[in-house]
Amino acid sequence: MSCSIDEPTMTVAEKRAKARAVHVGFCCKCKTTRSTIIVRYAEYCDPCFLIALDSKFRTALRNARPYRVTNPENVMLAFSGGSSSRSLIHLFDVFHSLPPEVTSNKQQPKIYNDIHVCHVDESCLFEPSSLQTQIQSQGQNDSHSKEIKEEKLDGSTMEQARSIAAHYNYLFHGVRIEDIYDPEWADSHCFEAVATLVTSLPKDQLAISGEAPELLSHIHPMSPLSTSSGPPGLSSETTRRQKMSRQEKIAKLKALLAACTTLTAKETILGHIRSSLLAQLAKRADCTILALGDSATRVAIQIIGLTAIGRGFSLPHETSLESNWIQGCKVIRPLKDCLAKELDTLCRLSNLEVIEKHTARLGWTIQSKGEIKSIKQLTEEFIIGLDKDFPSTAATVCRTAAKLTPPDVQYQDKCPLCHGPVQAGVQEWKKRITVTTPPSRDDQETAKDFNDTCCSSTVGTSCCSNSNRSINSSSSCTQNSTKSHSTDEKPPLPFSSLLCYGCLTNLRDLNLKSMGSLNGDETSQFELPPYVAWTILDRVGYKSLEDYENAFVAKDTDVDPRESLREQIQEFLIASDSESEE
């Protein structure tokens, strides 16, 4: 297909709209008013545009959830503060405010029961410099109460989001992005543990092997005695363990992002955290539907961007009009057919207040002379640039991806990091295309012959004897092996072997230096939030934190816990000794 001036991808409706515009410069609907808006060849006046957009929304909503459904459900609207999700709230409100005569006449059952609005406040990750300008501009205004001032000073978006929801009388649920470290945002509702990662090989061997090592995880219960108490106003009713202070949570989140070496990895992980919070917010408010404000433009960007970062497998869940992937919560995207431009226009014409600065852009966290762009930002520019000259770009990309069918995977087998589907056989496939790492340290210990096993057995590239710096490496290698016996920590659980392909790929951008090592010489510089820790345990087969902890207390006496665990997790391990030792 060539890039002719006439876009080959024009739909019948578009061609019709173009042909219908007999009087150039006049609205294609009423034909009497001068057009002020142009959307993919169709020209509208302001009132006709609003009517057209509203009916487009209704059609999408009906397709996402047929009106025939009898029992009304609660719906959660995810509101970021931007014009798309702002439009979502407005359109839902218009949709639900049927004129009384219609509702009474037709005896139509209620389609949605309660409408809730939720918001994730990402202000703790806003660029510091703009935060300062904000302080300057707010500096004069000191008449308000201290709390409100603090909210404003740190650039918080919570109160503005709350007031917008209140305007519609919708129930509001706000959460801060750093709250992902609170125990209640895991699937088990209260999971008081975090996870850290360790590399399966000592660090000096990693440098030589030059390939992605297997990562294992440790589950750390949160300490019962938290050092500092939370700031006033943030105290909670939870009494089981003292809650982490906001500063502690922010520090943990920042440490996790700091461990990512690329902007793409940072944005991707932040995206997982955001989605995880949204799903939990919906579930906790007893909403069986989570409505997202993704526009056609955004969905097109997602489709290309996610494919580029290796997330093609979960694409249907992350971009479709409706997805039933998340257990107990259907995700719908009723604005999927509306361009960002249309939604911006809606906000402008209907005077809808938006939160100007609402999504954390993490570019500032990367120290660099030049401007660094993530794959997402590059994709965004690509799609928007293309859309300028070929207005059907976004729609065409969306239409193409809509043909993808969701994979047949169980939600129980979800990826710990993104909660997306894990492609069956990822490990086998990955093994075929990559040189695997030698067996993990446990095998070598079992052989009780580390020196020999460690430094002569493997044909693989990663053993220290392979290196030119043989003296240094072999000495540290032996040392590490001996030491690992003395660690009293519980044996590690799998991690990288539980991941979906996209996350496995993304993890290559995690700084290995920021992780612990199996021998315990180094400690991890970051912690993965409770939802990740919980999913790891769940996938390995433990029902609770207690279940996991007790498993080792009981067996400690006679059997080596490493052995028993190893049996349990055998299927998850990427490299098994039988294959690499020839």
Binding site: T36, E43, S80, G82, S83, S130, R348, E356, T359, E381
Partner: protein
């Protein structure tokens, strides 16, 4: 033809655009009514000029008013960066001739950034 040397133009910025203009949402600007015609030939008469268009306004705005990060406002082709919606007196500029639209006194030009998703 207008005889005034400057045109009074109301510029509005939203959707995050205002951050590039010192957080000003509205700027009343006196924009030159004429701009010199740039030719490659240096010998030609420097006095030749044309009535100000949106193209001139964008260049002028980025020099005179823009506070930071011009790459977020102006593109390589002298137009606004892709993803910025421009309205001329309430109408999409695509309907008004885009870059070639000739500015009129008291025009209201709106720049809306559509880049921030969500």
């Amino acid at each position: 033809m207008a005889t005034k040397d400057t045109l009074q133009i109301e510029l509005q910025f939203s959707g995050g655009m205002e951050l590039l203009f010192d957080n000003q949402k509205t700027i009343q600007a006196d924009v030159p009514a004429f701009f010199p015609i740039v030719t490659k030939d240096t010998d030609t008469n420097q006095q030749e000029r044309h009535a100000a268009t949106i193209r001139d306004l964008i260049a002028w705005t980025s020099i005179e008013l823009l506070k930071e990060r011009p790459e977020l406002f102006i593109g390589d082709d002298g137009s606004v960066r892709a993803g910025i919606l421009v309205l001329i007196n309430g109408a999409d500029w695509e309907l008004e001739g885009e870059l070639e639209y000739e500015l009129q006194d008291k025009d209201e030009i709106v720049f809306i950034s559509t880049l921030h998703g969500g």
